[in-house]
Structure formats: C-alpha cells, structure tokens
Symmetry: C2
Subunit: 403 residues, 2 copies
C-alpha cells in the first residue's frame, strides 16, 4: 500500500468534499463527498441483500442497469442513511442525483448515490443542496484522505488502500471505505469505493467486482446486522497507456483482479479491526469442510456468536462456546472429527479436549490480531472470515446512537 496514491489522485477522477451539516455533528466536519470522472467511465456496484434497502441503493441498481455499467459520478453523504423514508426519501435522492447531473451536463443515470447514517429520517434537503453545490464548485480540490474522512460515521479511523499494479503501464487501484456497525456478510456490508485508471470494460468490471466482493467484504462480520445501505462501487477511468481489458478472462484481467482483491481485502480488514468497540481482529479459518458453503456457514456462526466474541474480548480460551456455535451452524459437523487451534495452540482434537496451558493461551489472546482454526475433517473446502471482539464499548456506542 502506498499512502500517496489515494482516491484523490487516481488519473481520470476529481474528488471534492464539503460540509453540509447533514446531521447535528458534535464538531463541524465534512459529510458530503463527490467522485467525478472526467468523462463517462465503466462502473460496477454490488449492493445490500437486505430486503429493506435505502433509496440510494434502489436508484443505483436502476442507474447501473439503464446505463449498461457506465457512470460519471458518485455522490456520498454521511449522517443520514435515507433508508425507510418512503416516497419522500426516494424523491430526495432523485433530487440529489439531478443536481449533480445538471451541473455536469450528464444523464441522470450516470450519477450514483450512497448514504450512511441514521435510518428513517428525511435528508435535510436545503442543506444537502448547498453542500452538493459547494462540492461541485470545489471539484479536484480534495486533499489525500479527505474523501475517506468525509464518509465516516462511528468509524474511529479512516480506511484507505492503494497499489500500483505490476504491469508497465502505471495502473493504480485505490480505495476507501467506511463501516464499523451493521456489518455482516451478504453483499458489501458497508460503503466502499474503488477507483482505477485501468481500462476495463463494464462487463469485465462487473464480473471481477462480484468475485472479489464474495471473497473479501462479504467475509467480514462485526455484529451480523446487514445494513440497508451497503454498497461497493468500482469505477475505471481508462486513463492509462495500456491495452483495455474487454472481457473477464486473460492474463491482464487476472492481474487486475488480483490487485482489486488486494485492495478489497485490505479495506475489509480495516473494517473488521475498526468494528464498533473492537479491541482486536479475529480471523476465523474453517478448513476441510465438505462444501464451501459449510465452511462459510461455520465461520460466520462462530464469528457472530456473542458468547465467542465476549470471550475473545476477555482473553478467555473458552473453546466450548466455539464448538457450541459450530454445532448450531448450518454446516455439516461430525463432533468426533473436529479439531480446534487458537493462536497456534491445539485446544480440541478429534472430538476430545486437549490439555493446554490456559494462562499462556490467555496471554497470547491479548494480541491485536488472533487466529482461530477449526478443522472439520470432512472434505477439502476452506473459508476465512474476519471479525472483531465484543467489548463494553460496543454496548456503549450502540446503546445511545439516535437519541
């Protein structure tokens, strides 16, 4: 990762941020962020699978369909999710898109939207309009890191990643994301934005994004709560000397995909580490499952068990909770074949407990990053899920959010 290459300086894009006071923030801050491509570019998105979805998500799906994967801009606001806001909410989202489209003399379906924040409140449209106008006027003036900061809600840290692709035509991939609560696999589980100057066709971009999202963002869970607004976007400006990637196959596509995976995995890790109240990153690796979906189901159920997560917080090697969660998951499990290893120490082997030094293991669990491996011994499929522990601060942050 190269901190100089942020979203703000990917060739072919201009970024702006603005303060619209979307919500009564404790301190003044930017809460509008705008990505504008210099010309219409290839774009793809994956969105929440929640049956209840926010107005911007509904609009984005429509726009990406009618535009055949071409977009010009993404407008983001933090502080208000514009979800469960009925007809007025849809009208408001539409107005935002129209304002950006008119300023850029672009068709409305080339404008994408993302909102994050409180559910069920109408956007303050007068303030939104002023904020959007300010951002449009300031296009290209954003400093590195401004975008990532403007989209934060309960995040403690901005989340960014970037790389220079190992090709000789200077392809950059840079991303930023936000998310620390309402995080659970099932689509993109937060807001994430990836920009690249690679020349990729809409079809190849769409295929690549889906594949990468399933292996990265969709394998992060903080609390099992899939949000109504989750969106992951990628835009490719094509401002590079290299040849275009027209279809989702071939050596150049594979290299691009590997880069997209690396950026997405870095952002996904940052989300898990910055989970609400998190004190550590917990990697849950389920190996030797019969089917891939067994591995995923087992890892997800363990990762979302409040009993497991509080034990991780308390540095308590209480593996009974882990196997209990495993047993109630949808994964096929044979108790007598299961083995478990935490922080490199075997705790359970083929259905029977293994004597281990609890004090030593408890000490190892104090690390910032710990790994649990669960071996099902029923096949060859693996899955890796990223989560965090469950602390007093999780309760504190979430017991008083709207009021």
């Amino acid at each position: 990762m190269d901190s100089l290459r942020t979203l703000e300086n990917v060739p072919g894009f201009k970024i702006a941020v603005a303060s619209a006071n979307v919500r009564d923030w404790a301190e003044p801050r930017n809460d509008i962020a705008l990505i504008v491509a210099d010309a219409p570019v290839a774009a793809a998105g994956v969105f929440t699978q929640n049956q209840v979805s926010a107005a911007p998500v509904k609009i984005d799906k429509k726009h990406l369909k009618t535009s055949d994967g071409i977009a010009r801009a993404i407008l983001v606001n933090s502080g208000n999710a514009n979800a469960c806001t009925g007809k007025d909410g849809k009208k408001n989202a539409h107005r935002c898109a129209v304002q950006v489209a008119e300023a850029l003399t672009a068709p409305e379906d080339h404008i994408l939207l993302a909102s994050t924040g409180v559910i069920g409140r109408q956007l303050p449209m007068d303030r939104m309009e002023k904020g959007i106008a300010k951002a449009l006027a300031d296009l290209g003036k954003a400093e590195p890191g401004d975008f990532a900061k403007a989209i934060m809600t309960t995040d403690l840290r901005p989340k960014e990643a970037s790389l220079l692709l190992d090709t000789d035509d200077g392809v950059v991939i840079a991303g930023a994301c936000k998310g620390s609560g309402m995080i659970a696999p099932n689509m993109a589980t937060m807001l994430a934005f990836v920009l690249t100057n690679a020349a990729v066709s809409p079809r190849a971009l769409k295929a690549g994004l889906k594949e990468v999202a399933d292996a990265t963002f969709n394998m992060v869970t903080v609390d099992g709560d899939t949000s109504t607004n989750d969106s992951l976007f990628v835009m490719a400006s094509g401002v590079t000397d290299g040849p275009a990637i027209d279809k989702p196959s071939g050596k150049r596509y594979d290299k691009f995909l590997a880069g997209l995976y690396e950026i997405s995995m870095s952002l996904a890790r940052q989300i898990a580490m910055d989970g609400e109240g998190a004190t550590k990153l917990v990697k849950i690796r389920v190996i030797n499952a019969k089917r891939h979906k067994d591995a995923v189901a087992a890892a997800k159920t363990i990762a979302e068990s409040p009993l497991v997560k509080t034990a991780m917080f308390g540095n308590d090697p209480n593996w009974g909770r882990i196997i209990c969660a495993l047993g109630r998951s949808d994964a096929k499990v044979d108790e007598d074949r299961v083995s478990m290893t935490l922080c490199g120490r075997r705790m359970f082997s083929k259905g029977a407990p293994v004597l281990f030094d609890e004090k030593e293991l408890s000490g190892l669990m104090q690390a910032k990053e710990i790994e649990l491996e669960v071996d099902l011994d029923l096949g060859k499929e693996d899955a890796l899920m990223l989560t965090c522990d469950f602390s007093y601060d999780y309760v504190k942050i979430n017991a008083d959010y709207t009021t």
Copy 2:
C-alpha cells in the same frame, strides 16, 4: 402460580440436593439435584438440536427410547456441562447413571441425566460419587426451592412455576428451570424440569411436551447461542384419583396441555427476564406474516440483533435497526407494507416513518417489560418471541467465565 406447590411437593416424587463441589464455587452451594419417582413413571424429554451435544443428552435420548418413555429418576449437576469431553465424558455420565440405578434397584435406562456449566472439562468423578450418594441418602429432605437453586449457574434468580389444574382430582403441575446464557430457540434452550401427579401415558406426554416446547421455551432467545446441553423433561407420577390420559386428544388432555403450557410459558418468561446482564424483558410480536415460519424467522432475527438489543438497553427508539434486522431475516417482507409499534407508539406505518415523541417513547422504554409489534401485512400468521436487552453486564459476565 402457587409458591407452596414446588417440585419438592408433587405427589409421587421425592427430591434431594447435595453439595459435591463440582466446580470451585466462590461460596459453598448445592450443585447436585435429584428427582426420584416412587415408582417407574411416564417421562418425556426434548433436547438440544445442536449437532454437538453433551454426554447426558446422548444418554437421555437412548434411555427414553429403550424404556419407551418410562423413567424413575433425573440426576442433575451444575458447574460442569460434560460436553465435548470425548469417550471419558460418556463413561463418566454412564457411571453416574449406574450409581443412581443401583441405589434404586432400577434398570439403567430408567435414569435420566442433565448437566450444565463449563464445556470441555471432565466431571470430578470422586466428588460426583460422594455428592450423588449424599443426595440418595437425603431423598425427600429437600425444602421448597432447593432444587431450583441447586441447578443455577450464572442465573441471578431461581425459576419456578406451579399450578393446580382446574379439574376436581387435585392435579398439580410444577416446574423449575435454569438458563440465562447460551439461550436460543431450537429445542428447549436450557434445563427445565416439570413434574405432575397427573396420570398421563408416555405417548400423550411426549406429544404434549413437543407442542408446548415449540410455543414456549423455543420462543425464548437471549443470545442466539443454542447450548449443547439444553433439555426439557416432564415426568407424570399418576398419583391422583382422576382417570388416566391415554392419548394426546380429548378434553382432559387439552386441560392438561393448557396447564403444561402455562407452566412452561412462566418458566420461559423467567429465563428471558433473567438473561445474562438483562435489565428488561422484550416481547417481540410479529403479526400478519404470510406463513408461521416467516413470523418466527422475523421475530428471531430482530430478537437476536445486537444492535436492536443494545438500543433496548439504551432506551433508544432507533427503529431503523429493527427494520434492518427484519429485512435481512428469512421472512418474506414487503418494505412498503410494514408497520411497527413500540410500547404502544406507532413509529413506522406502511413503509414510511411516523413522527413520534422520541423523548416520551424513550421514557416508556424504561419499563421492566416492553413490547414491540411488527405488522407484515402479508397474511394471518403471528409469533411471539421473548428476549431481553444487551447491557454492559452481558459483556462483563461473558468476558471472563472459565478463567
């Protein structure tokens, strides 16, 4: 409920408790409890659906099968779950059953077992044997409430219920249960014991218990973690003047079933109210679902959402989290038909937010018992789920349990 009619004085049974120091308790306490019927009686049980189940659960299922629903005694210990303990664990459970069977000159398959506590540790068999011997010697000496106290783990309160059936032959139903963590629907979700002097055939008892468990204990969730040890037992001594209930139908069966439901619902409520760290009981009623399983899935997903539970703790009428959980549930949902009411105040109506007095509603949420109603407007099926809020104390209790 009549506090004089506890498990300890149901005609046809004798109860004993003893201290075996199964675990190094902070203070001396009883941790062995024994129910012995004066003669072999009808018995039924429902058990955890976790794929990983404790040694006593495996033995009980076998015994109830080979004995055709006849049992003489139930031996319970707290402090150690005897789960995930491999072959030694099974041997130990077997030894406990044999000790009770020999003392009562009963066949081994007339003895049922229940254990609750830490997973993955072997029972301290020398202490268990002495404790069991003591309990056998003290049969019938237990005072009212002793049984309910001896089976507690992290429970703050013993949980009991009883009633005199509205028939003229003095049929009593009394129950006791334990459970406050690792509570989630899917079987019985804790340890519960119901005794009656009614004369009920094993077949009728089994059918009735299944029906009642699904509507009561299986509709309680504290943290979504179905334990490896969950067991609900009922024994019917037949020590009454009334006629026997031979089959699961008819007026007398219906009356008995209504009584069993009442006792089970009272115990289930007590479990939800005594959820680990709980400050209030939360009743989640989903109405007008298309299918019953939609109503259950919706209620369960809302009840288990950490974001919803922390909002309930913080008296925060953040209904966005509720609809978010609803949308990601397996229930069929049409966002534009959903309405929601909390503590009698409408917050959301047919897909759009309703203006309400947040301060007033936050005040109402401070009650010991609050009700959320979610109307799906898609059919006629309802479900009621009982849960509790998620507090700092949940994390505190669970961050340091074994070590």
